[in-house]
């Protein structure tokens, strides 16, 4: 017996999935296949996000190894309390994001939107704190590379710490801003148009995964930049 192409409806009947819901794309066989494919795709996307940030963490560890004294002196200039506050803000936003997904699972789309707004609020809070931190650094001159003008650090290449600091928090902040954009789009678009239900909420779930990853990266950034001596 060889490979073959069979009448689709027969196969479908054998598969006990006669219905074809609106959210199911034509090239998928059934809803579980589509759901698991979309979720799997998102996890792979998160993998590439982690490796993208890996480069920044690599730079951090490399120069920490090359200039340990500078690293110690430079991190003292960061305000631990601001970092800790932002950690709590991001953790809260992660909670509300998880609850937004839960609301979808319970078919509570209004609740989902409400939680998303809180998440967006936290994200803005995070960015505002970052704004104050950045403007302080502009003020005293602890800036990356050739813009560095501060004079209070002994040891080699203190500007590199701030290059790494600005690149890490900058790229992370960019992810926060992109997250805000996606959440706003989700609220205005698919959620308002009723495209999301407890039957199919992969979109909210994937944005949730993205947001948790942004939180996850901050969980490592915070101690490495602000706390470690």
């Amino acid at each position: 017996m060889s490979n073959g192409i069979e009448n689709e409806s027969e196969v479908a009947a054998g598969h006990a999935h006669g219905d074809h819901p609106a959210f199911l794309a034509h090239h998928f066989h059934d809803a579980p296949q589509q759901k698991s494919a979309v979720k799997f795709g998102m996890w792979l996307f998160l993998v590439q996000e982690i490796l993208f940030f890996a480069g920044l963490f690599m730079a951090y560890f490399a120069f920490r190894a090359l200039y340990p004294e500078t690293w110690l002196a430079a991190h003292e200039l960061l305000d631990k309390r601001m970092g800790a506050f932002n950690t709590v803000v991001l953790l809260t936003s992660s909670l509300t994001m998880a609850l937004a997904v839960r609301a979808c699972q319970l078919d509570d789309i209004k609740g989902c939107v409400r939680y998303l707004w809180i998440t967006i609020g936290c994200a803005f809070g995070f960015m505002i704190v970052k704004y104050f931190e950045y403007s302080h650094k502009f003020h005293v001159g602890t800036l990356p590379g050739k813009f560095y003008t501060y004079e209070g650090i002994e040891g080699g290449a203190p500007e590199l710490f701030f290059s790494v600091y600005f690149m890490m928090t900058g790229v992370h902040g960019l992810h926060v801003v992109i997250g805000i954009g996606i959440m706003l789009w989700m609220i205005m678009g698919p959620l308002r148009r009723g495209k999301v239900s407890s039957q199919y909420y992969a979109l909210v779930e994937n944005v949730g995964l993205y947001w948790h990853l942004v939180d996850l990266i901050w969980i490592f950034l915070f101690p490495l930049l602000y706390l470690v001596r």
């Binding site: 017996m1 060889s2 490979n3 073959g4 192409i5 069979e6 009448n7 689709e8 409806s9 196969v11 479908a12 794309a25 034509h26 090239h27 296949q33 698991s36 494919a37 799997f40 795709g41 792979l44 996307f45 993998v47 590439q48 996000e49 982690i50 490796l51 993208f52 940030f53 890996a54 480069g55 920044l56 690599m58 730079a59 490399a62 120069f63 090359l66 200039y67 990356p144 590379g145 050739k146 813009f147 080699g156 290449a157 500007e159 590199l160 290059s163 790494v164 600005f166 690149m167 790229v171």
Partner: protein, 545 residues
């Protein structure tokens, strides 16, 4: 036999009957198509166009290198030529070559699926590719870039050519590569037809799978590297700039963490193609299926652990160099397994010496040399002498150009009937294959000798003692170009003038041959059921042909 069930089923799907090429018309129906076959064909067209551009650049500096003295170009122009040649060939041709064109076209067909898992994402990958390409073309028009495709700092952070647009181009192209990789992995995991178990996957699919893993895992690192380098140039952040305390050797780690695995992105799909063609055109079951499949994944995995062999003389520590050298030899084992298995597949086969097989044999010949010369470069002491000489240039052209390109051309010919619905003319194709083979070896084998005698790479003028080798190389490059142009012409001609292709001209057993040539818009007229392995030729019913 079974194919008749397809014909019966087709009755229920009248709208599916048209070929994918003619199902919809107009430029927009191509540029915004979600059909993986059309996207694959657009990639094929773009990649071959950039291959032409990159090749012409190479011919230009080959003419310059025919003599020891600088006679055509200034050093600055010459440097721009080889940099653009490298950047275009790597980022626009070799990395996407087989996966984006043949892979896109074939993967869903081989899996018995209607499309890749995320067709919109697939289209987005293509548009991102075109955007990245636009940046590189802009770079070319804005006076070019002369950093070498490797963008080593601090040269790239201090020179005043159009480096930023080149970096942006490569950065953007990276995302195209990542998204294609994600799409393929999910497709292979989730879109297989009923009965198509992992061990019934064609080896091309296994190779594409390994390739995609590298694309997803390695490309983000080059993305952040180029991103940092853009900031290095525009803002002077100094991470890779020794003038600000940064470390240029760190840049090389960043760069090769991606760029070594990416050579497997280039060569693994060619391995996949050869696994198909050597078996099908010998009409014999592939020898050691499991070993070949597993070695693809092993090469991808070990390939991540060897990047430092590009840095033996860079000032990397001796300890790191030693570890990298040892692991590098580890990649040679799975590669050797593949080569031996391909040759063993031909044993007691029924070998048809057609154009596809000629390219397959060329691949084995060229890749054997490319692989074996790699051993010199993996060996610490010998690499110290060979590093950054023409020996390295010859080696990676044998592997990446000879290997990948022979695989690519073999694949284009093998699937040409499926992609276009036309056969290519056999006689000019054989002449082309011969010219390519002779031209390639003349161009690059001579460079091994020049290199091992000590001629450094990226030299615009050189000592007269190397002139014979370099002159022969230039002659070879024109023979190679003649062969490639001939190939281009008859392939283009055959799209209109070639004989109509049957459904399965090679009597292959993989699923893409179960549908029409060219395939219908949604690939198959019904649900594909897989009941046999991809290389079960002993069951061929030859009366069908």
């Amino acid at each position: 036999m079974s194919s008749t069930t397809g014909d019966l089923a087709a009755g229920h799907h009248g709208h599916d009957h048209g070929s994918y090429l003619t199902a919809k018309r107009g430029l927009m129906s191509w540029l915004f198509t979600l059909d993986h076959k059309r996207i694959g064909m657009m990639y094929l067209g773009s990649i071959l166009t950039f291959f032409l551009v990159g090749g012409l650049l190479a011919l230009a500096f080959r003419v310059e290198l025919a003599t020891a003295e600088p006679d055509l170009f200034t050093g600055s122009t010459y440097n721009r030529l080889f940099t653009l040649h490298g950047a275009i060939m790597v980022f626009l041709v070799l990395v996407p070559s087989i996966p984006a064109s043949l892979g896109n076209f074939l993967l869903p067909l081989m899996l018995g699926a209607k499309d890749v898992a995320f067709p919109r994402l697939n289209l987005l990958s293509f548009h991102i590719y075109m955007l990245g390409a636009a940046f590189l073309v802009f770079t070319l028009l804005a006076g070019g870039v002369e950093t070498g495709w490797t963008f080593y700092t601090p040269y790239s952070s201090t020179t005043d050519s159009a480096v930023v647009s080149a970096l942006m181009g490569a950065f953007i192209l990276g995302f195209s590569s990542i998204l294609t990789g994600i799409n393929f992995i999910v497709t292979i995991h989730k879109m297989r037809a009923p009965g198509l178990t992992w061990l019934r996957l064609p080896l091309f699919v296994w190779a594409s799978y390994a390739t995609s893993l590298i694309q997803v895992l390695a490309t983000p690192v080059i993305a952040i590297t180029l991103f940092l380098l853009v900031f290095e140039r525009t803002m002077g952040i100094g991470i890779f700039d020794p003038a600000l305390g940064g470390d240029p050797v760190l840049f090389q780690h960043f760069f090769w963490f991606y760029s070594h695995p990416v050579v497997y992105v280039m060569i693994l799909p060619a391995f996949g193609v050869i696994s198909e063609t050597v078996s099908i055109h010998s009409r014999k079951h592939i020898f050691g299926y499991t070993a070949i499949a597993a070695s693809s994944v092993a090469i991808a995995a070990i390939g991540f652990l060897v990047w430092g062999h590009h840095m033996f003389v860079s000032g990397q520590s001796e300890l790191a160099g030693t570890i990298f050298s040892l692991i590098t030899f580890g990649v040679a084992v799975p590669t050797a397994i593949k080569v031996f298995s391909w040759v063993a597949t031909m044993y007691k086969g029924s070998i048809e010496l057609n154009t596809v097989m000629l390219y397959t044999l060329s691949f084995l010949f060229i890749f054997a040399i490319g692989g074996l010369t790699g051993l010199f470069l993996a060996t610490l002491a010998v690499d110290v002498h060979m590093h950054d000489t023409y020996f390295v240039v010859a080696h990676f052209h044998y592997v990446m150009m000879g290997g990948t390109l022979m695989g690519f051309i073999a694949g284009i010919h093998h699937w040409w009937p499926k992609m276009t619905g036309r056969m290519f003319p056999e006689l000019p194709a054989k002449i082309g294959a011969l010219l390519v083979f002779v031209g390639f070896n003349l161009t690059f084998f001579t460079q091994f000798v020049a290199g091992s005698r000590g001629m450094p790479r990226r030299y615009h003028e050189y000592a007269p003692e190397f002139e014979t080798w370099q002159f022969l190389s230039t002659v070879g490059s024109f023979v190679l170009a003649a062969g490639l142009f001939l190939t281009l012409f008859y392939l283009l001609w055959s799209m209109k003038g070639g004989a109509k292709a049957p459904k399965n001209p090679w009597e292959a057993k993989t699923l893409e041959w179960e549908t029409e040539s060219p395939p219908i818009e949604h690939n198959f007229a019904g649900q594909v059921i897989c009941r046999t392995g991809p290389y079960d030729f002993d069951e061929i019913d030859t009366s069908r042909a």
